[in-house]
């Protein structure tokens, strides 16, 4: 058993001729909160998408709870069972009710009974503070509510790790905080999280480790205090000054 929840060793990823990830090395300990930031196109989304194998890397090793994700046919399914994912565009199932969105995975993939799955769904809808929306369709909810449903949907699989791929980037400004509040709570409860975001206030509050990426590389990483007060690289200084101006 590995001591790390996630371990990426010398990971390379190409999209045809374009190298999206260059020798990525990253470890996440159980219970650790890692925030990944960087300019767009820097490869930060690709990092989280490689962890649960929505993208396949070409070389290097990725282990989740000690299981090598690319090693064999069953490994990807085993890893996905323990890793939840929250997308920028929510990706809720529009033809199903909120309740059905939450129970589909537990019932079909985990074999829970409908009653158990619904009980679990209610628990997590409570947790993201929208228990009253269970019977609505995603299209009837605001963006912030939809993203909270998406978080609840991931939690229903009771994952050991939660990945967030720019969870607030598609939201109207007034809805960002309701989603971040839920994420802060999850962090406080000890969930292992990897969060790609530009929300630096959130990062300061919850991150144990900051990772700055540019051009497919991890340029800088470290504890948030040092990262925000005294960034070492030019590129990181420039990026922080750009997004912290406002």
């Amino acid at each position: 058993m590995s001591q790390y929840a996630i371990e990426m060793i010398d990971v390379d990823k190409w999209f045809a001729d374009f190298q999206a990830l260059k020798r990525i090395n990253l470890t996440v300990a159980p219970g650790e909160r890692v925030v990944v930031c960087g300019p767009s196109g820097s490869g930060k989304s690709t990092v989280v998408r490689c962890i649960n194998q929505l993208e396949q890397h070409q070389s290097g090793t990725i282990r989740v709870n000690g299981v090598d994700v690319g090693s064999e046919a069953g490994a990807t399914a085993a890893v996905r069972a323990e890793v939840g994912m929250v997308f920028q565009q929510f990706n809720l199932f529009p033809h199903l009710s909120v309740m059905q969105n939450l129970t589909l995975g537990p019932m079909k993939a985990r074999g829970l009974s409908r009653a158990d799955a619904e009980e679990r769904a209610r628990k997590y809808l409570d947790r993201v503070r929208i228990p009253e929306q269970a019977d609505k369709r995603p299209g009837q909810l605001s963006g912030g509510q939809q993203q909270r449903v998406a978080i609840a949907r991931s939690l229903c699989m009771e994952p050991k790790v939660l990945l967030f791929d720019e969870p607030t980037s598609a939201l109207d400004p007034e809805m960002i905080s309701e989603v971040l509040d839920v994420m802060v709570e999850l962090a406080e409860e000890g969930m292992t999280m990897v969060v790609v975001t530009h929300e630096m206030g959130f990062a300061r509050k919850v991150a144990d480790k900051m990772v700055f990426m540019d051009d497919g590389e991890i340029v800088e990483h470290g504890p948030p205090q040092q990262f925000f007060e005294a960034p070492k690289s030019r590129r990181c200084q420039k990026f922080l000054s750009q997004i912290l101006q406002h």
Binding site: A81, F87, H95, S97, G105
Partner: protein, 254 residues
């Protein structure tokens, strides 16, 4: 009811067209005994036209789905298999294919030591279904590809496998977009089923041909034949619109 409908469509044509020398509606005048016998003879082909079309459409839809899925695969050779099937089947005209199935296929069966006769009924269904499946496959492919990739990814992250993802997430959404072109395709099958007449299938067109031979009144009989197809297609269109309305309201969820 049928008598009145036929009479009405005759009236429309008669008032719209020329002299009594051209037209001899008595041959299918439902108000005379012989005319009514003739009309019933023609309309009785309706059952077979509907039966052939429905069975062929069901087979075509199943086959089309099976053919479409490899087109969505990551592996190149699976996509190539799909392409070969679609391009090959799509390029064969219906009539030659019907002849090949009806007259040619039994010879192949016989050479393999199998004694499987191809009756007109199944010959027509097999031909229509295979010929149509190339088009339904393309319709399925388009419909499934139009569902955003994020839906598949979300389904995978909640642990669904390929078939569960298709069954519970992709197809329920795709079917709403697939239905209108699929209905179009069904109307096409109904019309193409007329070709079954040339291998002796007793459907609408065959009946009309047979009556023309005995009555020598092609203009009136084929006019009624056209009206029969028109009625059939209008009924299908109405049914599809009803289905679309039902599913449309479902998507908006209100």
């Amino acid at each position: 009811m049928i008598r009145i409908a036929v009479l009405f469509s005759m009236l429309v044509l008669v008032t719209g067209c020329s002299s009594s020398a051209t037209w001899g509606w008595y041959v299918i005048n439902p108000m005379t005994p012989q005319g009514w016998v003739n009309v019933r003879f023609l309309i009785n082909g309706m059952g077979n036209t509907i039966l052939i079309s429905v069975i062929a459409a069901v087979i075509s839809i199943c086959l089309g789905l099976v053919v479409a899925l490899p087109a969505l695969a990551e592996r190149r050779w699976l996509r190539i298999i799909n392409r070969i099937y679609v391009e090959f089947v799509r390029s064969i005209p219906l009539l030659p294919m019907l002849f090949w199935v009806f007259y040619g296929l039994p010879i192949i069966f016989k050479s393999m030591g199998l004694n499987i006769p191809i009756e007109p009924f199944w010959g027509a269904i097999i031909t229509l279904a295979i010929s149509d499946s190339a088009f339904t496959a393309e319709i399925f492919r388009g419909g499934i590809q139009s569902i955003a990739r994020g839906q598949t990814e979300a389904a995978q992250t909640v642990g669904l496998n390929y078939f569960q993802t298709m069954r519970y997430v992709i197809m329920p959404q795709a079917i709403r977009r697939i239905l209108p072109p699929l209905a179009n395709q069904f109307i096409y099958i109904v019309k193409m089923s007329a070709f079954a007449s040339v291998i002796g299938m007793q459907e609408l067109t065959r009946r009309a041909n047979e009556l023309v031979v005995t009555e020598y009144r092609p203009l009136e009989i084929y006019s009624l034949l056209i009206v029969e197809y028109l009625v059939l297609v209008l009924i299908i269109s109405a049914g599809v619109r009803w289905l679309e309305r039902r599913m449309g309201s479902d998507e908006r969820g209100r």
